[in-house]
Subunit: 202 residues, 2 copies
């Protein structure tokens, strides 16, 4: 549609997730019209992420060091590992301030239709950690904290089957139920069904 | 939420138009997980646009030369100027293959609530062109091709008032009416009203 560098930039922006051709065009023209300093800042941010961010060798979370802040923190309980899909899930769990253990980031959820099988996720690394690799103490409990959707549930089911082979390991899963602050009448039937099935004695 | 370079990139991406915090996060993690070559291509595209793209000194369209391809083309009728809001509108008119004149890109539409007045648009440059600056032949007709919305209509009304001062200049505006390929019953009342008011004898 356009020519030369402008179209190249539109094409590159259009490759990013969630950005269609119209958004790519809008962003490209925004960048054309914007202060040069803004474009430079974006370029520098890309550069820093490319050279300065790695995935933690233990848990797979994003990190500026080979071993991330949480995995390096001796005060965090290394016998308790929360398995999540993505780095942003680590941030979500950290925000609760309820969890003092460590993490394992899978890098996604099983999704065979998109070509994501166990080999595309950090499943082998999880089994190695539980098997007791390196200088870490033995893991006593694994908390499965996948997204409560089809792919997440499938991933949890798959992991439960693998983790059964480790004697003495407790495997738990986040509770499903009514979200806090919501109305019972607006809960979908799946959530309400889970809340009923998981009801607790008081 | 995150720390260091990752959060910096999320912040920079979040400054782009139409990208909220969630999208920015998604794009940042996509870029983290993607091939390094993809990030490099995006960086290079940004760099090329920053150094290689300018605005045409005559019409204000994006260009790789001081004077754009259309303004440099002697076969295009320089006495006929189509005034549009944005470079992408030039592309839209070019696609019709119906227009053999030149363009004038305003760089937006009047929108006082967002601080866009005549001084933020290339209105003065348009008046200078019509007044006969440089080596160009005199402009005989100006076609106003603003977006058919409130801001576009306001801009067209404003320009018509200014252009009245040039004796001998014809000022026209794109026809409003039913879009081709649509259903009459689904046309909104404003469009149908314009189509009625602008009905033509056959």
């Amino acid at each position: 549609m356009f020519e030369g560098p402008v179209q190249d930039l539109i094409d590159e922006l259009g490759r990013l997730p969630g950005i269609g051709p119209k958004s790519a065009q809008r962003i490209a023209f925004h960048l054309l019209a914007t202060e040069e300093a803004d474009v430079t800042r974006l370029q520098e941010a890309l550069q820093k992420v490319k050279i300065g961010v790695v995935f933690c060798e233990v848990c797979g979370n994003v990190s500026e060091q080979p071993r991330c802040r949480i995995c390096s923190d001796a005060r965090r309980d290394a016998t308790l590992v929360c398995v999540v899909e993505e780095p942003k899930d680590v941030v979500a769990v950290e925000r609760t301030r309820e969890f003092r253990g460590r993490y394992h980031v899978l890098g996604g959820a099983l999704d065979p239709l998109s070509g994501v099988g166990p080999d595309q996720l950090r499943v082998r690394e999880l089994l190695q950690r539980i098997g007791g690799a390196g200088d870490e103490p033995e893991i006593a409990e694994v908390i499965l904290a996948m997204d409560p959707n089809t792919e997440g549930e499938a991933t949890a089911t798959y992991l439960v089957r693998l983790l059964r082979d480790f004697p003495g390991l407790t495997v738990t899963k986040l509770a499903s139920g009514l979200p806090m602050g919501g109305d019972l009448e607006f809960a979908d039937e799946l959530t309400l069904g889970r809340a009923l099935a998981g009801r607790r004695a008081l």
